[in-house]
């Protein structure tokens, strides 16, 4: 059984006009245990919404998402929170570190709501991402590259089976982006976590063997919902 299995997933949002717009319409998608897959899609194609649905942050309108054998879509919010805490690590474009906490404390928070804080593991992860000398620094005292390394360590702190990465290199320059991506992939592999990464950056996507265009499996992203400049000519 795949680690992640999605069937007939739909999600729509009410546009400012009040009209319902279908953003995600995925008939089928799956990810194997330990696999590393990149999703390519333009801005506004529903990548973030898709990841939020998988993480249980958003409630699907229809269809099923199974994560690690449990049906996320069948759970009420507290259940989805618990499943997310237990099996999913999330890396964001904006890192989303907590400013009031040190690097080490941020990593510890990654476990606080799941298995509970495992001090040695947190220290080992920070060491692994090369920040053993910056453990007691606050996010503001770190460079953006270092901040994203903390975020990677935090995402893996709870030993998740699935790591979701939403344009994790979007705020980094070329050099640091490449470094960060390499680190994410290595650390996920070392920890036996599958990686589902979304990006619109071709340089990043080029590093993956397994790249899916979101328009291939998200019917909602195919054409009609994209902003005009991305639709190209459009149907006549």
């Amino acid at each position: 059984m795949p680690l992640l299995e999605i069937n007939n997933l739909t999600k729509s949002f009410a546009a400012p006009s009040g009209e319902k717009t279908l953003i995600v319409d995925v008939p089928s998608f799956s990810l194997e245990e330990g696999a590393q897959v990149a999703l390519e899609g333009a801005s506004g194609s529903g990548k973030t919404t898709f990841l939020n649905l998988i993480a249980g942050i958003l409630q699907a309108d229809g269809g099923t998402i199974r994560v690690a054998g449990q049906e996320m879509t069948a759970l009420a919010e507290p259940g989805r929170d618990r499943l997310r805490a237990a099996t999913i690590g999330y890396v964001f474009q904006t890192f989303n570190l907590l400013q009031g906490y040190t690097a080490l404390e941020n990593v510890a928070l990654g476990m606080a709501f799941g298995r509970g804080v495992d001090g040695p593991h947190a220290l080992a992860l920070l060491q692994r991402v090369g920040l053993n000398e910056r453990m007691t620094y606050r996010p503001r005292q770190l460079s953006v590259g270092q901040q994203q390394r903390v975020a990677v360590a935090r995402a893996l702190a709870n030993r998740p089976r699935l790591v979701l990465a939403d344009e994790p290199t979007g705020n980094l320059d070329r050099h640091h982006a490449r470094e960060a991506l390499k680190l994410i992939r290595e650390v996920c592999r070392e920890n036996g976590a599958a990686l589902l990464l979304v990006s619109h950056d071709h340089e990043i996507l080029g590093q993956f063997e397994d790249v899916h265009k979101i328009s291939e499996f998200n019917r909602a992203a195919a054409l009609e919902n994209l902003p005009a400049e991305q639709k190209g000519e459009g149907p006549k």
């Binding site: 919404t49 964001f92 904006t94 570190l97 009031g100 453990m135």
Partner: protein, 432 residues
């Protein structure tokens, strides 16, 4: 020699419980947290002070401090009589003839009668002429008589000698052997100095009663003070030096009475106040003071109301200080939720933060109370000689802090509901 510790001694990894996260949050919003804590401390201190000081004042001014059961004095207000003779405040309502003193002294219902003659002061401290019985027979508390500190002795009734209260000694610097000139009147007037020189023969041990603020001299001394006129008989009388004063010319300002039984007091009261026309008996002293407190009850109710309003304002400060941070913290809540924290946890953390601010404030409030009471006690002692107790046990000492914590928790619910409603997807990415 000794094993070198590793260069990087591992930093402590917190367990990230509610308490830890709360302290981090309070540190991040230190200024508003501190302002709220100060408000709560002031509110708690104020509430405790109002209630405790009032309870103590009621107890000491209506309770045992007097030692005497009744005061006999000039016809007039019982309250004025008590304030004047027992607490050495207020003006004297006038004098009564010596014969009345002797009559009550012989009355079988009276156990002890001590005369007071007023009229002079030293630097504002009252000089009271009295008899030795005040020191030899009178008990201001059960089993406790006024005592003279070692090195001093009782005044000789035939000399210009004085025994002074401990507070007087401390404030004026008068000691055994010091000389002083009395001043005429109950209020200090530097121009009204008497020529007589008195010598201090004794300083009283502190009794924590109004008597600590008094200078005691022989009652004859008051009669013989230059410029004093005795109006006990129909015509005025000024004793010449060495001349014996006939009893009919003598007057007293008040007679302090210790009664054999309360029933005796009631029948004396009946006789003096209802049937008589010359004098007033204030009895029981505690009842007279309680009447005063009851009349002043509205002041206390207003003070209490103010204190409770301040407590509500303090709770409002907690509410506002946390509420104002919720918007800037939404992203933080969203991140925590994305890490798997449940809504309930966010809610609890906010209520816990509000309660903690209230708890720290309430604890600090106890210190504020000690500060206020310390100042109040000094003022009350200077004004009345009565000493308030810093450790006075009163249920408000724990009711006010507990109430404040409950109010704080309640105040936390409003911002907690706001935090609870944070939408993760909307707040996880910066809106730009």
């Amino acid at each position: 020699m000794s094993a070198t510790p590793s260069i990087y001694s591992s930093p402590h990894v917190p367990r990230c419980g509610i308490g830890f996260m709360m302290m981090r949050s309070m540190r991040q919003h230190a200024l508003s947290s501190i302002i709220a804590i100060v408000c709560v401390a002031l509110a708690t201190g104020l509430t405790i002070s109002v209630v405790s000081i009032n309870a103590q004042a009621y107890k000491v001014f209506t309770g045992g401090q007097a030692g005497f059961d009744a005061v006999l004095g000039a016809r007039g207000s019982q309250l004025q009589l008590v304030l004047n003779a027992v607490f050495h405040l207020e003006t004297s309502p006038g004098n009564i003839p010596w014969s009345l003193y002797q009559a009550v002294k012989k009355d079988p219902r009276v156990e002890l009668a001590v005369p007071y003659a007023l009229g002079d002061n030293y630097n504002g401290f009252r000089i009271v002429g009295t008899t030795e019985e005040l020191f030899t027979k009178f008990e201001f508390e059960k089993g406790r008589k006024f005592a003279i500190a070692p090195g001093g002795r009782m005044f000789d009734t035939t000399r210009r000698e004085a025994v002074i209260g401990s507070f007087v000694s401390r404030q004026t610097g008068l000691k055994v052997g010091s000389n002083f000139n009395p001043f005429h009147g109950l209020n200090f007037d530097p121009k009204a100095k008497h020529d007589e020189v008195y010598v201090v023969t004794g300083v009283m041990e502190p009794s924590n009663t109004p008597s600590d603020r008094v200078i005691w001299i022989p009652i004859e001394g008051v009669y013989r003070m230059e410029g004093h006129v005795l109006r006990g008989a129909d015509k005025e009388f000024k004793p010449a030096a060495g001349e014996e004063i006939p009893d009919e010319h003598k007057e007293v300002s008040a007679v302090m009475l210790k009664l054999r039984s309360p029933q005796g007091g009631f029948s004396l009261e009946q006789m003096i106040n209802k049937q008589g026309k010359v004098a007033t008996l204030a009895f029981p002293i505690g009842r007279t003071m309680a009447d005063l407190f009851d009349k002043m009850g509205w002041v206390n109710r207003i003070l209490g109301l103010v204190a409770y309003l301040v407590a509500v304002v303090a709770a409002g400060t907690i509410l506002a200080s946390i509420y104002n941070t919720i918007n800037e913290r939404r992203r933080e809540f969203a991140i925590l939720r994305a890490l798997g924290a449940r809504r309930r946890r966010v809610f609890t953390a906010i209520v816990a933060e509000a309660s903690t601010i209230a708890a720290i404030g309430a604890a600090a409030g106890l210190l504020v109370y000690l500060g206020i009471l310390g100042v109040a006690a000094k003022i009350v002692q200077a004004q009345t000689g009565v000493v308030l107790d810093l450790m006075f046990p009163h249920q408000i000492l724990y009711l006010a802090p507990l109430g404040m914590i409950a109010l704080g928790a309640l105040a936390g619910i409003v911002p907690a509901i706001k935090a609870y409603g944070t939408d993760v997807a909307e707040n996880i990415s910066p809106t730009s």
